[in-house]
Symmetry: D2
């Protein structure tokens, strides 16, 4: 059963259409060095839906080869075409990934019965075990808590990642799943990693862990130890990161732009984004540089 | 410049994963016999985003080959991956299609500047001229009227299809584009074909024309002739179709299910839908059969 | 049965808390001189919910006294407190108003059964006949078409005003009410007065008629006469008014600010708005002055 | 500075239009016996906006007289009419209340500048200090965190109650207000009382405290003591209450209906609701009775 910090890995791009393979290699090494419990590639933070299938396949191959089973690799297969999702899952299985993650198809809206039918078919055809991924801001649909409970009974569905940012909702899911302790419950927004762990969550899929993997791992451990002082200290740092790095400019992509820009400034990989997004211009880049210089993540970890 | 009735062609499926090629052939023949002014394949009604690329390519080839330039063929290339959209446009150009149609990428939200940048890049790389497609219920983004005006200046962007169902919005677009009379303005919802034509629109992309192409063509002509009596008579029939065929069951797909079920009952093609949707069960099918029997489209056309 | 143009009268305020009684008198005279078919006071355009009960009562008294049964007066009694709505209806009855208009209570959300129960109680207790008022952008609730049909059977509910701006919805209501030809169906947005009249509506509650009552009356008559040339000419002018006078500044109140500012420039009444809104500053006022000078409503009417 | 548990008191009604004065008296006594730190009357849970002004004034008088300064009394003055809000604040001041609470006017939408202007005027004219009340589901507007910070500088604005249920948002407000430790930050949803207290909140305005005031007080104290075992135990009970008592039936009022029904079954007051809502029928009442019998709040408190 998967627990802990499983960063949603960004996809370094050499230009708008090609992978930055060396950057990806450095990035994976950097994240693994922080002691994370797994990796999630081709998710929202990985810009999965914006990438060509050629790039998606390259990322799957490259990361699985490099990680070499040191930690579990989860692969995003979210797609509006069922057939293409299954194809990505087969690719992931071939090269040694451990599980796949799928948000609902996101063009057509559907009701909960259709949502259940869709995931049952996907779990039946996927060679790898499947995580449900709740991302209503992007997919226009919420997994009702009863739907999660229902799907959790499928033997090939092993967990749930919630990026709704809605603690009341997550708490309802935790409550309904309490008799199913082997089902992994993860949350996306790093700003509520602490509170959701205290609410019964098993870990976080936190974008900030691309840059500072050890900070989120440390928070995870502090919660397990019920060490309030360390929690409080880490929480301040986590909020400082999100309020400084994810709020520059006025694009809906400001979080993605901020993470990629910071990684570029840290010398890890390039900061190109796939269309429809663009990387920061110098003015915004300067703000990220300034913020990075000002705060020191290491000081809170010791 | 394209005007008139350009039906959004449904995609007949033999099962959830394969094209019903003979059904598609009969369907195209049926629609063309109604005197339509063009065809639009792989749109929302065509379930484009739910289909594998293999099927999408087959539909493009099959339809272009069969139509053989008798009327313009427009191809839906809507995708979240820019690269895949361009690839579909190239395929369409190779086999003789006339134009492509793209709704905005629909996973990530974007601002109007990013929307403009996206379409400029797409128009630059597309070998075929491009129609903008406004579908906010599915894509979560509205083309602001100023954005349409701005993009209309690109030489490879030749028209706009609005499926918002918002007459006030469409009227604003018409007003802003009044100095650009060569730019085609189409609307989706057939229930307001009459009113939008009277407001300055150039035609309709109406799903009901899969079943009754001559009715929508007759309405188009009645508006051009300002023949109020015929308009009123056709409008009643058009509303009868939508209130009887598109309201059965409780799926968000009820419109698609109704059109496909009716075509199946008319002996034209099978009624399978791509996941996440399903075709009607016998109970709903019986309601469509009953409705089809009760109303007689031909009587109003003479 | 009420038909035609029934302007939603703005409420002239001497300052934020007092009525501009002389302005109101001039305004009523001005509107009546345009040949309108009724008046609607204390609606959304009348800022009813923002006014103290003292002012609401003064407006009811003043307008009913001045109009003196020359045309029907409709009184807005929209309130979150049922008791206060009934009290306003009694006041309106006492001073000779002809009907009342109520949007749903707008703090708590409710389901359609509760909506029906609410209006049945209100119609039972109201001494004056009642118009339903659909205003989902402000009340957060839509009257489902079946709800309108259901409530239309109550003997004290005589009509429906739709300000949703949703033509497909309005058309559904028209269709469901077709066997009840004595039930008045009005629409709010003046930009679609023409199209909704052609769709089966009985008239418009159009804010622009505060300034130019004869223009909207002329459009109403042109539609009855099916005079396409006059319709087209009036429609251009109506759109010119809304695109120039209702789009200045960046407040959600820009429509209200524009109407009040124009009336003030026309010498009819003061331009104060009730809190939370404010009247235009000189910069915006100058834009309205410029627009008013540029277009000539009278020229299209002859 | 106010901290702790400040229950939003329901308003017992003898019938739809009259106060149940004896029930209100028993209710206040019951709540005070639980050791709460204040009372909030005429809020959302108190159905303030649905009540006549006569009843609102009676509630203010009755509660202030009965409480007699034993704990602070906060009075809801939320209204769409500024003048009526000020009148309610004056009434509250006359009879000895301690503060007033106002959500934004909820008919017209407004921008943040208008929101600020509105609250500055209200704070200027209110004789009692003012709490801001964020309730976007009902008012359609969110206080931006910067707006809260800005308004917190007004000497007559002393706190903020957030009922958005959005922990990320609340955390941003806490962060911005960290240099203003005298400004009270409360949250509404009891299901996240624990998590928001751990995030920097000062207390809860929790509807369940109408029934079980000592449970919420105990949770408040457990968090102050950082006693994880007691927190966990209380949290289970709090979630049991909300998942059993607030989920019966299918009205948007199910929470209000559940609280009033439970209080009626506990022999404290009648369960009538103001229009547009209705009290439970016998079938739903039986479910509440069953739930009340099954769980024992006292057992966790010892």
């Amino acid at each position: 059963m998967l627990k802990g910090i499983v960063p949603p890995v960004i996809t370094p791009l050499g230009d708008k259409k090609n992978l930055d393979i060396e950057g990806l290699e450095r990035l994976i090494e950097h994240i693994l060095s922080g002691g994370v419990h797994g990796l999630f590639i081709l998710g929202t933070t990985g810009e999965g839906p914006s990438l060509s299938y050629k790039i998606r396949n390259e990322v799957i191959e490259q990361v699985c080869s490099q990680v070499d089973s040191k930690v579990p690799v989860l692969v995003g297969i979210t797609d509006t075409s069922f057939t293409e999702s299954v194809r990505l899952s087969k690719k992931a299985a071939e090269v040694g990934a451990d599980a796949v993650v799928a948000a609902p198809p996101y063009y057509f809206s559907m009701n909960q019965a259709e949502l259940i039918g869709y995931y049952e078919s996907l779990a039946d055809e996927s060679p790898l075990p499947l995580f449900l991924y709740n991302m209503p801001s992007h997919t226009k649909i919420h997994f009702e808590p009863e739907t999660v409970k229902n799907l959790a009974e499928h033997s090939n569905i092993i967990g749930f990642k919630d990026s709704s940012g809605d603690l009341l909702y997550f708490q309802n899911v935790v409550r309904l799943l309490q008799d199913n302790p082997e089902f992994s419950l993860f949350v996306g927004p790093e700003e509520m990693l602490m509170q959701t762990m205290l609410t019964g969550g098993h870990g976080g899929v936190n974008g900030g862990a691309n840059m500072f993997p050890n900070l989120y791992v440390a928070m995870y451990e502090a919660v397990l130890e019920k060490n309030f002082d360390r929690m409080t200290s880490f929480q301040k740092k986590i909020l400082q990161i999100s309020s400084n790095l994810y709020t520059v400019g006025n694009s809906p992509a400001k979080y993605l732009q901020g993470v990629k820009c910071a990684l570029s400034l840290m010398g890890i990989c390039s900061d190109n984004l796939a269309l429809p997004y663009n990387s920061f211009k110098e003015q915004e880049r300067e703000k990220i540089r300034h913020a990075l210089n000002r705060f020191n993540v290491e000081e809170v970890l010791t």
